[in-house]
């Protein structure tokens, strides 16, 4: 199959899946809740207010009609108005999303560098001290609850040592320039180094906490993949040609071992989005994850719908990009 055809096919599939995703979210927000208005307003709300609310949410219509309205809204990018902030949910998402994507990108960079380096070292120095260290690091990374690790690090680095700030994206009296919404990038573009360092100090802990599990799984896959590659014939050939160990490892082995890692990096993007929900809650990070949690806790259904759909969309998009990049790297995958 040609690459173009493959991409078109995948895009088409994604549209179908997104339709299904929207249906699942509809069930969660419109069909399952027995009495959403009662839950929002409390049991003793006056009947006029309840009716008004039902009308506002479109709950006075039949379920199929609600579904049609809902789908119509989504196609137009209209998720309704948040009950809590009283703003368009789409605007809220646009405001909150950059914080999440910035955190996710920084975590991803951290996880990839740490994971790949540890994986390589682990495989090259198999069963040596560095290998044992890296394996302990990995197994702890996938076992520790994100929220617990975050709280303990806050306790140590913020409350006890006072080295790092305790949450949020920037300090009280620092106003980062606003261009793309990514604090670090905007600060660099504007050349505002105070704001850049401030942003960096704020993102270290959450990015570490969020990226740790991904770093761990990347290190494991990288190690296994390197060991696999190092066993292969072309490595022996390269060695017997008289190439130095350096060249064999970094030019030949690492390049080939990286292919499965690309998938893992893409897949960990999903766990990053899941983890972001917890990390953002702990570090008061003003991102989409915290937005959804807060919306869920007060049953702000329009916000839940918009936030969940948007996260699912980003997640699917990430998976799509992984699949396509995989197809580019390895033509056998295009089936």
């Amino acid at each position: 199959m040609k690459l173009g055809t493959y991409i078109v096919k995948r895009l088409f599939l994604m549209i179908i899946v997104m339709f299904g995703v929207a249906t699942i979210v509809f069930f969660i927000t419109h069909v399952i809740p027995a009495d959403p208005v009662g839950a929002i307003l409390g049991g003793n709300a006056p009947i006029e207010l309840v009716d008004q609310m039902r009308h506002q949410l479109g709950l006075d219509k039949s379920i199929p009609l609600q579904f049609i309205n809902y789908m119509e809204g989504i196609v137009h990018g209209d998720f309704g108005v948040s009950l809590k902030t009283n703003r368009s949910v789409l605007k809220d998402i646009i405001d909150f999303f950059p914080a999440t994507i910035e955190l996710a990108i920084v975590s991803m960079i951290f996880a990839t560098i740490v994971g790949v380096v540890l994986g390589i070292l682990s495989a090259v120095y198999r069963n040596k001290v560095i290998d044992h260290f890296s394996r302990v690091f990995s197994i702890l990374g996938v076992s520790m609850p994100v929220f617990w690790l975050g709280l303990l690090l806050l306790l140590l680095f913020y409350y006890r040592l006072g080295w790092l700030p305790g949450g949020g994206r920037n300090s009280l009296f620092i106003f980062p320039p606003h261009i793309t919404g990514l604090v670090l990038l905007d600060s660099v573009i504007a050349g505002d180094w105070t704001s850049f360092w401030d942003g960096l100090r704020h993102i270290i802990l959450p990015a570490f906490v969020l990226g740790y599990a991904s770093a761990a799984s990347i290190a494991r896959i990288m190690r296994a993949s390197m060991l696999d590659v190092l066993r292969q014939d072309f490595i022996r050939t390269a060695k017997s040609k008289g190439l130095s160990k350096r060249v064999v490892i970094y030019r030949h082995a690492v390049k080939n071992a990286l292919i499965p890692v690309v998938t893992i990096i893409g897949l960990s993007f999903g766990s990053l989005l899941s983890g972001a929900v917890l990390t953002e809650t702990i570090f008061s990070w003003p991102g989409l994850g915290r937005y959804i949690v807060n919306a869920l806790l007060v049953l702000d259904y329009p916000a839940v719908t918009g936030g969940t759909l948007f996260i699912a969309f980003i997640y699917s998009l990430a998976n799509l990009i992984v699949d396509i990049s995989y197809a580019v790297l390895d033509p056998r995958m295009r089936v």
């Binding site: 599939l13 179908i16 899946v17 997104m18 299904g20 995703v21 249906t23 699942i24 979210v25 969660i28 927000t29 399952i32 809740p33 197994i139 702890l140 996938v142 076992s143 520790m144 609850p145 994100v146 929220f147 617990w148 709280l151 303990l152 806050l154 306790l155 409350y159 999903g270 766990s271 989005l273 899941s274 983890g275 929900v277 917890l278 809650t281 994850g289 959804i292 949690v293 869920l296 806790l297 049953l299 839940v304 969940t308 996260i311 699912a312 997640y315 699917s316 998976n319």
Partner: protein, 302 residues
Amino acid sequence: MSEVKGVAQKGRFKLFLERRKPIIEDWKHTFYLWKSTTLAMVGTVIIFVFFGIAIFAPLLTSYDPIAQDLDNRLLPPSSQHLFGTDQYGRDVFSRVIYGSRVELWIIFIVSIISVGIGTLVGIIAGYFGGAVDEVLMRITDMFLAFPRLVLAMAFTASLGPNLTNTIIAISFVDWTVYARLARAEAIKVKSQPYIEAIRGLGAKNTRIMAFHVLPMSISPVIVQLTLRMGTIILTAAGLGFLGLGAQPPIPEWGAIVSDGRSYLVQQWWITTFPGLAIAIVVLGFNLLGDGIRDILDPRLRR
């Protein structure tokens, strides 16, 4: 007469042993591999201790995990209260101990439901193939399009956050993994000649699926299940921590961590110990799962 019968029985037992020799040898080899994988052993021990604590919880602590004792609020760890007490004067040690029952219950029920739904969907999809497969797998994809925790959160919030709904939500999110595995196995099995033979004898589809495809497809699902048990706990604890899972006063570990959050600076013990319990048990499941994967890896078996 009785002597003859005894000999016959002994003979039958020997015959049984002889016929099963390859399997028994295989088990012995597995046991040997398990013994030589230290980490898998450590994992097994952790899990056994965890089960033991859950079963014998009332014997291990004399404090009630739920009853409040406001005279003894926020006491630091001591010989009286090993893990200290929380803001309601409850013994944290006893809450952690009883919490193991909650976690075990969650793992148990989630496993049953998600493996049940997953294998059912997977086997039907793999066995029938064609349009049925296409539809079922697209539905699976739809569930996979969400980050797990986000979907589970949305489910529990909408159903009403409590322990039962946490279990339902995690099961609804988790079955997809097993569906894909069972489907792949079912596809492999259904093209085997013996399935053809059974069908030739007139067996119906349901019978073939239940008695011939299912038993052959279940083992990779079970292996995957042990690998995922740690994740189940982490998800349940994450939901509990966010307030979207088990509700107070149920001593769910994630919820206890959340209880201690506002007391983190001065009363670190409320947060630290339940979190440590989660980390150790998840570590145990991960070590055990890794070990099982290694043991089943044919490259290692050679």
